[in-house]
């Protein structure tokens, strides 16, 4: 569905993504793990057109999209849930959700959009209660839910999720990840960037490991989660082993 081929992205002089290639198949969840500054968010920004690549190609359903502007890419069916939610604080929950469906109003009937609105409210019942509240007054978890809900309103084929668990309470993280799984069941393809590598690898089908702008490892998520190198670098110390050494 998405084929990225040898892209190079720069921030001014800084070479952020180096000859990076990856592919995502329909209805997969693909996780992207890596430490701070590895280029995970940059990759998502490059796909969504916010920081276009200098060279290389990105094909989505066989159409070249790497030279298109962000709004054209959204129209193709890729919606980005940016890091730090990027909600419109002074607008209500409802208005934020309607903005998610911005491009659909001219092409689709009001009814279809309202159907998706109900779907989002089912996924996140708390948003229904808060619908008239300003987005800026929501808690961190609710804001993340709204941010994902807003993306769903664009009815994407591919959703780019950037750090959905950032700064959230463990219980909320579980809820968000359950929704991600539910989205996959409802046939949305997902590219997931996460610091919480263990949680990401648990729900992903495949994963890529990114280090300083290059992909250093890729494979089945169930295999990667057992990989010694990945364990050491991203999954934290295994305390049982530590105790044995003592």
């Amino acid at each position: 569905m998405l084929n990225i081929d040898l892209i190079n992205t720069y921030y001014g002089q800084i070479h952020a993504l180096k000859d990076l290639s990856l592919h995502i198949e329909k209805e997969e969840i693909v996780a992207l793990i890596g430490s701070n500054g590895a280029g995970k968010s940059t990759l998502l920004n490059t796909v969504s057109g916010v920081t276009p690549p200098r060279t290389g190609s990105i094909r989505f359903n066989k159409t070249e999209i790497s030279r298109r502007s962000p709004e054209k890419i959204v129209a193709q069916g890729i919606v980005h849930v940016p890091e730090g939610r990027q909600l419109f604080g002074p607008l209500t929950v409802f208005e934020n959700l309607e903005l998610g469906a911005f491009l659909r109003f001219s092409r689709e009937s009001r009814k279809d959009i309202e159907k998706d609105l109900r779907y989002v409210m089912e996924l996140f019942p708390i948003l229904k209660e808060r619908r008239e509240q300003k987005a800026g007054t929501l808690s961190g978890g609710e804001q993340q839910m709204l941010s994902i809900g807003r993306a769903i309103m664009g009815r994407p084929q591919l959703m780019l999720l950037d750090e959905p668990s950032l700064g959230l309470a463990p219980l909320v993280v579980i809820e968000i990840f359950n929704v991600i799984r539910k989205l996959q069941e409802d046939r949305t393809t997902i590219l997931l960037v996460e610091q919480n590598a263990r949680a990401a690898l648990r729900i992903a089908d495949r994963a890529y490991v990114l280090e300083t702008g290059r992909i250093t490892m890729e494979g089945n998520a169930k295999v990667l989660i057992e990989d010694e190198g990945v364990k050491k670098a991203y999954l934290g110390n295994d305390y049982r082993e530590k105790r044995r050494r003592l």
Binding site: S69, P70, E71, A75, P82, Q86, P90, L99, F102, G154
Partner: protein, 329 residues
């Protein structure tokens, strides 16, 4: 941001229309009519500018130029070439809109201070044209003899008749803005104000909407300019200089950014204020400045939104205290 619900807005529109109809029954003084008419013209400019500044978050210091273009285009086409006034107003709006498009398209790619500078530069250029093209514009001494507007044999030739004319236009401008703000496009504008990148990732073509709203605000200013020319029948470059742009931006801020009704109150308050301050002669600029500073310090959201929030906070406070809680800000 806009603190009113749709139902309340309909109510306000009805009250506003009634006020326009009834006010002349109580006002007899010619001078008062003139002040109200100037308030009306400023309101039209400020409503347009508020769509740009308050809702979309783009600041323009060039709206005196669009106001002036409307006035001069109407004046030149009707008085010099004998065009009929009403179609000329539309023609002036179209020409000004096109100029705004060509100015806005490149400059709206600029952000913050740079956009302000670009629009400021443009308004200075237009002002120079008004002064220097004296064969066409009358130069610094102005352009006299502009015909009044008329419908059939009915000529809008005094302050009282022009009151109805101008305020009818104000009413429709408010109606258009209120509807625009509550539409899908209005939400897109607010989204651009919030974050252009985020708006982009939702599929909003930010450049397109910024340019469109810039053109719309210029067209509003042009309409006000044309009405001004036909009302006063004399125009001079002094009315459309850089200070007018600043005044218009100030009216937006004092009235309340992101509130259509704020535009009306901002224009009203500052126009009336500067009339009152004529009494203070050379000190009037000081008083004007002091009032501005006070508003910005104590009601940074502008008077309309500021007082509304103040009222709401008091209501919430009394609600909480009734239940025995303590209210802290």
């Amino acid at each position: 941001m806009a603190p009113f619900t749709r139902k309340k807005e309909t109510l306000f529109l009805i009250i506003f229309a009634l006020a326009i109809i009834l006010i002349p029954l109580f006002v007899k003084n010619k001078y008062h009519f003139m002040v109200m008419n100037i308030v009306g013209l400023n309101t039209i400019v400020v409503i347009g500018l508020n769509l740009l500044i308050g809702f979309t978050g783009q600041i323009s210091l060039g709206h005196a130029a669009f106001y002036g273009m409307g006035a001069y285009l109407s004046a030149i086409f009707t008085a010099t070439f004998g065009f009929p006034p009403w179609p000329t107003i539309v023609l002036a709006m179209i020409i000004t809109g096109m100029v705004a498009y060509f100015v806005g398209y490149p400059s709206l790619k600029l952000k913050g201070h740079y956009l302000v500078m670009a629009t400021l530069g443009f308004s200075i250029i237009v002002h120079i044209f008004m002064v220097e093209l004296d064969r066409i514009t009358g130069g610094p001494s102005g352009f006299p003899g502009i015909p009044h507007l008329s419908i059939g044999a009915f000529v809008f030739d005094n302050d009282f008749k022009n009151f109805y004319l101008i305020w009818t236009f104000v009413f429709f401008c408010i109606l258009v803005s209120v509807n625009l703000v509550n539409s899908r496009v209005g939400r897109a504008l607010k989204a651009i104000h919030g974050s252009e990148v985020a708006a982009n990732t939702l599929g909003i073509d930010t450049d397109k909407y910024k340019t469109k709203v810039f053109v719309l605000s210029a067209v509003f200013a042009s309409l006000a300019g044309s009405l001004y020319a036909h009302y006063i029948t004399f125009i001079s470059p002094r009315s459309f200089d850089f200070y007018y742009s600043i005044q218009a931006v100030t009216m937006v801020i004092v009235g309340g950014m992101g509130s259509v009704w704020g535009a009306f109150f901002g224009a009203g308050l500052l126009t009336v204020l500067s009339e009152f301050l004529h009494v203070a002669e050379k000190y009037n600029i000081i008083a004007y400045g002091a009032i501005l500073t006070l508003v910005l310090v104590f009601l940074p959201e502008g008077i309309v939104v500021g007082f509304y929030n103040f009222y709401r906070r008091r209501k919430i406070k009394s609600m909480i205290e009734k239940r025995g809680g303590e209210f802290r800000v």
